[in-house]
Structures are given as C-alpha cells and as structure tokens.
Amino acid sequence: MALKIIASMCTGCSACEPECPNVAIREKGGTFIIDPAKCTECEGHFDAPQCIAVCPVDGCIKKA
C-alpha cells in the first residue's frame, strides 16, 4: 500500500513534502518521490492522503 508521484506531472513545488506524516517524500532531480516502504497512504493519521490533498496538479499522485 503506497502512493507514487508521476514525475512528468510534478511541478516540483514541494507542497507535499512537509505534509507527509511518514516523512516518505523527498526531492530527486527537481521533482519529488515517495518512498513506498514508508508510505501508508496516511491511514491512521488522516482521512485522506495529505500529498494528494495539497498537490496543485490533479492526477499527479496515484496508487503505486
């Protein structure tokens, strides 16, 4: 269970990075990636995945 960022759609704005309760998001080559080993899709933390809620590009973050 994990989410992934579609690199071609990512604007590199960094909005998702500080919102992740699992510190699973980091920058790589100008865009951001999610560590699938750390991602819990925010279950147990929030009602909805925080990265999807804050991301300005709809469809940029999907289930891996």
Binding site: T11, C13, A15, F46, A48, V54
Partner: protein, 527 residues
C-alpha cells in the same frame, strides 16, 4: 543620523507623534483620513509633507509602496517559496503564481542559501536596490521555513535592505509574530473578495487543517483569515498593501466593497490589477474564456475606489524572481551561474552614498512637480475640467528619457488643470529591434496607448511619428530629459492654448487594450 537628510524639520516634529498616529489612522478608518495638524493622507504618490515621518521612512525608498520612489529605487524578489496552500482559478501551478508574477514563465527556484548569495550580489551591482521581497512562486507563508530562514540571514548580512513578503493570507494570523520578529514592515495580501459567494467563483479549494476544503466553506475560511491577518498587522504597525485581481463579471464592482473593507481595517495601499488569462497559460479562467478587463474598465474601478484606501497604480505584476526597477527585469544578469563568477563585496557605505545621490534626484523630481503644478494654475480660458491621458517613455529617474523605439512600456499620466497624476503603465512590444523599426509592431503599440492624446519621448523616428499622428496620437520630443510631470504639464499648457485659440478641437479618445502576458524584458522581447 542619516535620515535627517531626507526629512524636513516639520516632519521631525511630526515624527514624535508618528507611532500613535499610525494607530489613530487605523482606528479612524485607514488611509486618507485627515486628522488635525499631522494629516495622515498616506497617498502612494505622497511626499514627506503628506504623511507622518515614521511612515515616510518606511515608504520613501520602497518602489512598490511609493509611486515616486518607483522611478528611482529598485527591488528584487527571490523565488524561495514554491509551494502554495490554495488554488486560484487564474493560476496554473505549472508556472509561477499569476497574481504575484508573470504567468507562463517559471522562476529559477532558490534555496535560502542561494537566495542570500543572490541578494548580496545584486545589492553590490545595483546600489539603488533597497527592497527584497519573497513573493512566491507559490505563497511565502506556505513555505515558512524557507521564507523565514532567508529573512533571518538577510537581516544579519544585509541590514539596510527592507524586507517584505506577499501572501494569500490563509496562514497569515499564525505568522504575524514571526513577521514582526524579522522587522518585515511591508506585507502584501492578495484579497479578491469580502463575500465568500464571490470567493467561491475564484478559489476552487484551499488546504486547511489537513483537509482539502472546497466551495463556500473554503472561501469563508480564507476570507476570515485574510481579515484577521490584516487587522493583526495593522495593530502591530506593519504597512499592508492589498492586491486584488480584477475579474470582469465576477468581482469588478465588488472590488469597491473590498476597498472599503480593507480601508476600514487599516490597509495602507490597494492595488487593483487586471486579470491575465491567456488560454495557453492553462488556467481555469484562461481555458473557460474568462476575459481580462480593458484599460478603461480597469481605470473605472480604480477611479471608483478613489477616496477609499489609497490606490497603487504602478504595479507591474512582476515575476517571483524579478530584479531591477519596477519596469525592468534584470534577472537574466543574476542567474546562479553568473553569481558564482561574481566578486561580491557588500559595501554598506558605498550603497548609502549612492542612495543619497538617488535621493537628491528624487527630491529634484518632486520639486519640479510642485513647481509645474503651481505654474499651471493660471486661468487660460479653457474649461477647467478638461482632462486627458498621455503616454511617457522613461527609463528611470522620473524623466522623459527613452527613445520611442526602445520602450517596452509606457507610463500613463492623467493631466488636468495643474495636475499630472500617474495612473498606470502599458506594456508594449519593442518597436525598434536592432536599429530597424518594426512596422508590424506599431499597431499593437497604438492599441496599447490608444486612449492617450500624446506620447512623450526623448526621440522618435520619422516613420512611427507619421503613423502615430495618423492614429491621432501626438508624438512629442521637445521635452527630452525633463522631469515627467513638468514635461507633461508644459505640453498640456500648450495644448490648452491651442484649444483656446481655436487651432484644434479637443475630442475624447477611445479605449486601449491591456497587453496579455506580463512584462517580458527587453532582451526577450527582442529575441
């Protein structure tokens, strides 16, 4: 004290009461309330005689807060704040935020460390750079760690530079203490509505309390946070500028109410900007055909707000990494690669000495303006309420000092009897490219200044001169290198004399178009 050079004795007397006056001003309903001896009509074009010394100190060399200063002093933005916490229908986050910067262009994102290096490099090269702002490319307060780290270091390493930031206001109440901690005494809040029903048409969602909130609820939260933040800043004596994007059919008349509400809460300046919504920028408004206002529509709303919070009309909607005077963008000279090769020496004394020279020039411009206004008071037999617009080509210092062919923007002045008032600017495509006039550019320039009776330039070629005349716009080069207000009023006195003598008949001009796609800089326009 270096400040004594800039303030008259009368102002020093007023200075003592300045702090309490700011609070009184706020309590009495913001700007342009006159109260007793030290009147507080804090006009953006006001001089030291119009406002308390405390406020004058804050705005006199801030190009965004003083129309007069914007001819002389430069600003820069550093793009350390890429994230945003709301979505606006006029913004596509693939590019920079379009209310604070130029749409369709991506700023070079910087870390706080890179930003500090860049500021020091620019401050050494451009000693009249007095203001550093963080305006995005997202929202300054949606990136608090990067924003405040940059401010903290600059306060230590470049203590003479004024710091400012702009925000949508959602997180503003939470950071007011932090803002005051770093002596940030200018904050811009983008406020497009004071009614959530209007807001719901502008903001599809906000990110709030770990949720994506939509619709009326989102607009209500944003509105409440904006008003609360503005009130808190006013109470702390921080000067605020309110930016509003004019969206025809959605908030045009509503902005008059916005003006009233922000004035009530102590806003110093109100800046009403035209919506930019080209389809190719991929914004919601761009894709759904929501148009921007014409020059006349923009001016009508701005004029309707006169007497409320003071209006800023010299905004260039510059990008989040802009460098230079407001009408120019020298960011290409300060890319990370180029900064790495520069030998940066931050010489505070040299900067102060240079800025004193700039201040002398600015005082001269101010004096010339006052003289010209007085000289134009005499009765000349023409109806007193005859007003018109003129376009001016300038490259700074408040003078008519630019060749028509080199202008990438014209400044627009409204002339009335004894009054020359800056009312805005128009971007144009460069007419002269590599020494040759581009005749296909001329119609677009004419469209941009079509509401003007004359264009004041330092020089103009024979071809565009004839074509401007054919379009009914008088090209004027007799006042080359004179101060703008003096030149404009001198020309206007001659115009009125010609009307009085029956040589010409005064006829109103038509509307003008606002060029979509913000200022692109001379080098890019020529490419």
């Amino acid at each position: 004290m270096s400040t004594t050079a800039f303030v008259s004795i009368g102002d020093l007397k007023k200075g003592r009461a300045a702090v309490s006056q700011i609070l009184e001003t706020a309590a009495a309903g913001g700007c342009s309330t006159s109260g007793g001896e030290g009147k507080a009509s804090c006009g953006s074009s006001g001089g030291p005689e119009d406002m308390p010394a405390e406020i004058w100190e804050k705005v006199k060399n801030h190009p965004c807060y003083s129309e007069e200063a914007h001819h002389h002093y430069a600003r820069m933005h550093v793009a350390v704040a890429p994230a945003c916490n709301i979505q606006c229908n006029y913004c596509n986050r693939k590019y920079d935020c379009s209310n604070e910067s130029r749409p369709g262009v991506v700023s070079q994102k910087l870390t706080p460390d890179q930003a500090v290096k860049k500021v020091l490099a620019v401050a050494s090269e451009i000693p009249q750079m007095t203001v550093l702002g963080i305006a995005g490319p997202g929202d300054a307060l949606a990136n608090p760690a990067k924003t405040f780290e940059t401010f903290r270091r600059l306060q230590e390493e470049a203590p003479d530079i004024k710091l400012c930031l702009s925000t949508n206001g959602l997180q503003l109440p939470q950071y007011v203490d932090e803002i005051c901690k770093y002596n940030i005494d200018h904050v811009t809040i983008t406020i497009n509505m004071v009614d959530p029903r209007v807001g719901a048409q502008i903001y599809p969602w906000i990110f709030w309390d770990h949720r994506r909130v939509t619709g009326l609820e989102a607009a209500t939260i944003l509105h409440e946070q904006q008003m609360k933040g503005l009130e808190m800043l006013t109470a702390r004596g921080v000067l605020t500028k309110i930016n509003s994007v004019l969206i025809p059919g959605i908030n045009d008349e509503h902005l008059i109410k916005v003006n009233r509400e922000v004035k009530k809460r102590g806003a110093f300046l109100h800046n009403i900007m035209p919506l930019i919504s080209e389809a190719e920028h991929g914004t919601h408004f761009g894709l759904t055909g929501q148009r921007g206002p014409t020059a006349q529509e923009l001016k009508e709303v701005q004029d309707a707000c006169m007497g409320g919070a003071n209006l800023m009309r010299h905004c260039r909607q510059c990008r989040a990494d802009a460098v230079g005077l407001l009408g120019e963008d020298r960011s290409d000279e300060f890319t990370l690669d180029k900064i790495a090769e520069m030998d940066v020496v931050y010489d505070l004394d040299k900067r102060r000495a240079y800025q004193q020279q700039v201040e002398v020039e600015r005082q001269k411009q101010h004096a010339a303006k006052v003289d010209a206004r007085q000289a134009a008071q005499a009765d000349d037999g023409v109806e007193a309420d005859l007003t018109l617009l003129v376009a001016v080509a300038t490259e700074g210092q408040g003078k008519v000092n630019q060749h028509f062919g080199h202008a990438t923007e014209f400044q627009i002045y409204e002339l009335g009897k004894g009054e020359a008032t800056f009312v805005g600017h128009r971007r144009v495509d460069l007419y002269c490219q590599g020494g040759y006039g581009e005749d296909e550019q001329l119609p677009s320039i004419v469209n941009a200044i079509n509401d003007c009776h004359a264009v004041l330039v330092s020089k103009i070629g024979a071809c565009p001169r004839d074509e401007l005349k054919a379009a009914g716009i008088e090209p004027v080069d007799e006042y080359a290198h004179e101060f703008i207000e003096k030149a404009a009023l001198s020309w206007f006195a001659g115009y009125r004399a010609r009307v009085a003598a029956g040589e010409i008949a005064h006829t109103p001009r038509g509307d003008a178009s606002i060029r979509q796609g913000a200022f692109t800089g001379a080098t890019e326009a020529a490419a």
